[in-house]
């Protein structure tokens, strides 16, 4: 039996919704097989997962804490991947955003400015931090044609070392140097109260706090959507993503566009880093088992791909994947081995990718094609 794929002339709309849904289901089925093979009961594990992610008291709040950074890294990846600029550096750009954002919060907050001003400065600083870190691979790609996948990824490791250094290996401005635990358990210096980002309390599950960062993420999604679907900038970026040559002939300034898109992508990831500091950690989290253990930057790629690079879909997907990530954090133990989250996310990405084939191609089972070919009239010479 021969299976062939034919290019579709028209891509049916329902498929672009069905593929992500089927991808998630398929991933859960395959991960269930992994669980069975390694001696776990997948039904128990999945029930615990759903409980911990969305149902039990306080779980939605926890899920939002994981979903907020994922929305930022997902949007960062979507902004760049859409132009076929593979910025895999959201992880490091997020750390840099956190470092810059924390610096602004500690410094300006310490001087006692109004809270709104301090928070706005942290937002700007976070964006700048991520932007600077993303512009390194951006500049190298634009001017030296250096592969941005490798450079942006390698910089994640460097950013991780910088983060660890600031808290653990130096007496930096970010480190708590006073008090009993200052030398035995190094931590970040706590933010002053006027630098802490507020949240909205909602009466769901007995009090749910929607962090300010989640609001910024939705705002970023709206801006990104407007930018890519309603402006010349976005149009040119999409043309460039589809065909480098076509864009060049149409007069798109390729270098400038690469720099702009990398800066945009980095700024979104950096804002995520500032939100980590202002919303959740309230200090610079340099712990190798803290922010660095989460891998939000890498999960963001899964979020972006599953949302098919549509900003609103990305935010929605971030909430779902955030639930998964949150369950991974709270359940980690005997019935829920660490790493299961990555396994599920990886399979989701694999199947979303395989699903792209179904969106773009029609699958034909061999025999019919052969029969069609033999009965088709010979083309007139």
């Amino acid at each position: 039996m021969r299976v062939t794929f034919e290019r579709r002339l028209k891509q049916p709309r329902w498929l672009s919704l069905a593929v992500p849904v089927v991808s998630v289901v398929f991933a859960l089925v395959v991960a269930a097989l992994v669980l069975v093979v390694t001696g776990h009961n997948p039904f128990t594990t999945y029930r615990e997962l759903v409980d911990a992610a969305f149902l039990q008291t306080g779980s939605l709040g926890q899920t939002l804490i994981s979903a907020t950074p994922l929305a930022f890294t997902g949007l960062a990846a979507a902004a760049a991947f859409r132009m076929k600029l593979f910025n895999i550096g959201a992880e490091g750009q997020m750390y840099m955003g956190a470092i810059f954002g924390a610096a602004a919060g500690l410094y300006l907050g310490g001087r006692g400015g109004p809270s709104a001003f301090v928070i706005a400065s942290m937002v700007v600083a976070g964006c700048v931090g991520g932007m600077v870190w993303a512009l390194i691979p951006g500049i190298l790609r634009a001017f030296f044609k250096t592969n941005e996948i490798l450079t942006s990824l390698l910089l994640n490791y460097v950013a991780g070392y910088v983060l660890t250094y600031l808290i653990f290996e130096s007496e930096s401005y970010w480190r708590q140097t006073k008090g009993f635990n200052a030398t035995t358990f190094p931590t970040g210096k706590p933010l002053p109260h006027n630098a802490i980002w507020p949240g909205w309390s909602v009466h769901v599950q007995g009090g749910l706090v929607v962090p300010l960062g989640a609001g910024f993420a939705v705002l970023a999604a709206v801006i990104l959507w407007l930018l890519y679907s309603r402006t010349r900038f976005g149009f040119e970026a999409r043309v460039l993503g589809d065909s480098d040559r076509a864009a060049r002939y149409a007069g798109v300034r390729v270098r400038r566009k690469i720099l702009a898109v990398m800066a945009l992508s980095g700024a979104i990831a950096g804002l995520g880093g500032a939100s980590q500091v202002g919303d959740f950690a309230h200090s610079l989290d340099g712990d190798p088992n803290g922010l660095q253990k989460q891998g939000f930057g890498y999960s963001g790629i899964v979020v972006a791909a599953l949302g098919r690079y549509n900003p609103f879909a990305v935010v929605l997907v971030a909430f779902l994947i955030g639930g998964l990530q949150n369950a991974g954090n709270t359940l980690q133990g005997a019935t829920f081995p660490a790493g299961l989250v990555g396994v599920i996310q990886g399979i989701i990405l694999f199947s979303a990718l395989g699903g792209e084939l179904l969106i773009r191609h029609r699958v034909r089972i061999g025999r019919r094609v052969r029969k069609d070919a033999s009965t088709a009239p010979e083309p007139a010479a």
């Binding site: 030296f144 044609k145 592969n147 390698l154 790493g339 299961l340 990886g346 694999f350």
Partner: protein, 321 residues
């Protein structure tokens, strides 16, 4: 003399470079057939954890346990590569995204961590490890002692692999066919070479090499299991293939250079040498240097990209050629 920093750095550069070399050779095979596999880090980690698991669970002599571990690691790496091969060769998915998916699936936050936790491998020393192959009297010879004779058997195996792959690609029929498949799959197809099977075979064998590279880390260099123990070596290996212009013998030189950079941090620490924020810059050095070398190689005269397979990263569809 054999304790001087330079000699020690070269000797440990060879040791630390061996996982990079294995992984780079595997990536080279896949790329020469036209398949870019960005999942090296993930394949290495799964090889590393499975190799480590094998020595912990097998109660046999050291030689048998280690040989079995290398076999299991190769198999594990090959299985990971097979997923990528299916997606990009049969389903024609984006090679870049599929490679990233493999890294996420198998890597630090994925399967390797899952297996390590589920099999309770963390926080225990390896029961069998690779040690120096030649007698200690030979290791005392000046210069060549530590560098050439102070290594474990995997180092010598990797040398053999470099020679064999080099000969394979330049002097054998299948080797020449692979290059045809990587340069011009349509022409190779017309010649009757099966593009699909060549790409499958080389991607999967490439994965096996990455798995062995991972096991080299957990069985020879730092004999233990820690989540994400390869610390980005897989990515450096991918970059190495580019620096080496897709030539196995140059992979060896590059691997030892980056191995020496990786060895710098522990060596300086052991000798109490500090120079500014030492831990920060010595740990970042391999990554930063990789970026710098990538820039040099990708710009200027080297821009002609000597040796890059023309069809790298492009799916071959007979109907659309």
């Amino acid at each position: 003399m054999n304790n001087s920093l330079l000699i020690v750095l070269i000797a440990s550069g060879v040791a630390y470079g061996t996982p990079l070399l294995f992984a780079a050779l595997g990536e080279l095979l896949a790329e020469r057939s036209g398949v870019l596999n960005l999942g090296v880090e993930g394949m290495m980690l799964v090889g590393a954890v499975m190799g480590f698991w094998t020595v912990q669970r097998l109660h046999v002599t050291t030689a048998v346990a280690l040989a079995a571990a290398i076999g299991v690691a190769a198999l594990a790496g090959a299985m990971m590569a097979a997923i990528h091969a299916f997606l990009v060769i049969t389903l024609r998915a984006s090679q870049i995204v599929s490679g990233l998916a493999l890294t996420i699936f198998a890597g630090v936050y994925g399967l390797s961590s899952y297996l390590g936790n589920n099999l309770n491998l963390a926080d225990q020393p390896a029961s069998h490890t690779f040690t120096a192959f030649f007698p200690s009297s030979m290791q005392k010879w000046p210069i060549v002692g530590p560098i050439v004779f102070g290594q474990n058997v995997l180092v010598y195996v990797s040398w053999a692999c470099v020679v064999l792959i080099s000969l394979y690609l330049s002097h054998t029929r299948p080797g020449l066919n692979v290059r045809a498949v990587g340069e011009s799959p349509a022409a190779a197809d017309t010649m009757g070479i099966s593009v699909t099977s060549y790409r499958y075979a080389h991607t999967i064998v490439g994965g096996a090499f990455a798995g062995v590279g991972g096991a080299t880390v957990t069985l020879a260099i730092t004999p233990q299991w820690v989540d994400g123990i390869t610390y980005g070596a897989g990515w450096i290996a991918i970059a190495l293939v580019i620096f080496a212009f897709w030539r196995p013998e140059l992979c060896l030189v590059g691997a030892y250079f980056f191995g020496a950079l990786e060895a710098l941090a522990p060596q300086l620490q052991a000798r109490n040498i500090t120079l500014g924020p030492t831990v920060l810059w010595t740990s970042s050095l391999p990554y930063v240097m990789t970026i710098l070398v990538l820039v040099v190689v990708s710009s200027g005269t080297a821009r002609r990209r000597l040796g890059a397979p023309s069809a790298l990263g492009v799916a071959y569809v007979r109907e659309e050629r």
